[in-house]
């Protein structure tokens, strides 16, 4: 029974996709949209590295937050030594963020 349902569902997904959203490509449809005039240049701008730096810093601090969630739940029963350890944890990551700040990695140039 498991095998029947688990094989039917992806097949169903693909069938629904083909029925509902069949795309027919034409040469005019494939060119980029530029307000009814002929497209003037390629659509790619230069990638700014600040986009990636923000995503990276977000990943790091998100994982830090995930580590802090269980600590916040059992904070009262764990006592002072655990508080100091969590403080060390956060301070190591603050060192990283201060480094990023000083090296002007997070500027939106």
């Amino acid at each position: 029974e498991f095998l029947i349902i688990s094989s039917a569902i992806p097949i169903l997904a693909f069938i629904i996709f083909e029925v509902l959203a069949s795309i027919r490509n034409g040469s005019e449809k494939l060119s980029s949209y530029e307000l009814s005039i002929e497209p003037m240049s390629g659509a790619c701008l230069q990638f700014r590295i600040s986009y990636y730096m923000f995503a990276l810093v977000f990943v790091v601090f998100d994982v830090e937050t995930v580590f802090l969630y269980p600590w916040a739940m059992s904070f009262n029963v764990l006592g002072v030594p655990i508080f100091i350890k969590a403080f060390i944890f956060v301070s190591i990551l603050i060192v990283g963020s201060v480094y990023a700040w000083k090296k002007r990695g997070l500027e939106w140039s």
Binding site: S6, W71, I82, G96
Partner: protein, 206 residues
Amino acid sequence: MILSVLSSPALVSGLMVARAKNPVHSVLFPILVFRDTSGLLLLLGLDFSAMIFPVVHIGAIAVSFLFVVMMFHIQIAEIHEEVLRYLPVSGIIGLIFWWEMFFILDNETIPLLPTQRNTTSLRYTVYAVKVRSWTNLETLGNLLYTYYSVWFLVPSLILLVAMIGAIVLTMHRTTHGAVKRQDVFQRNAISFRRTIMRRPTDPIMR
């Protein structure tokens, strides 16, 4: 039944990551995989991990993958002509993973294949849990910071290294001198009559 509804799109999306023609689709299919694995973790009773999966994996990791795909303008690759070239080595690695999975799946508490034993193992209820039990989050907090506190502090160092490494690599040449930045408004406000002059060897000048 919910297990099958969740697990099969995970496997299919995993396959589609390698097979999708558009590289952006290759990043969007792991989002489906993460969603399905989050549901599977919910079925296993790990509520904290199931809630963390969308936050960390989809929100941070898949977004980073998306940035990488966008950064390098990965063209629509013609991979289908060359698939057979990779088949021997990739087939062997795939078979090794498959074999390892069957090692793990020998466990009776994960009812994946319908056999006579597995259909009865789901009915057993533990009544002690229903009185007042520790949530996943509380047990994690109790263990992670006391017995395994070294394991808690080491990831902070790993994250620190990751951040500093990425910043060193990208800001390498431009930080010791001036970072070459420009102020757009100042650039627009410069009047060209005072800053640009014609050279005497200019062919237009007489």
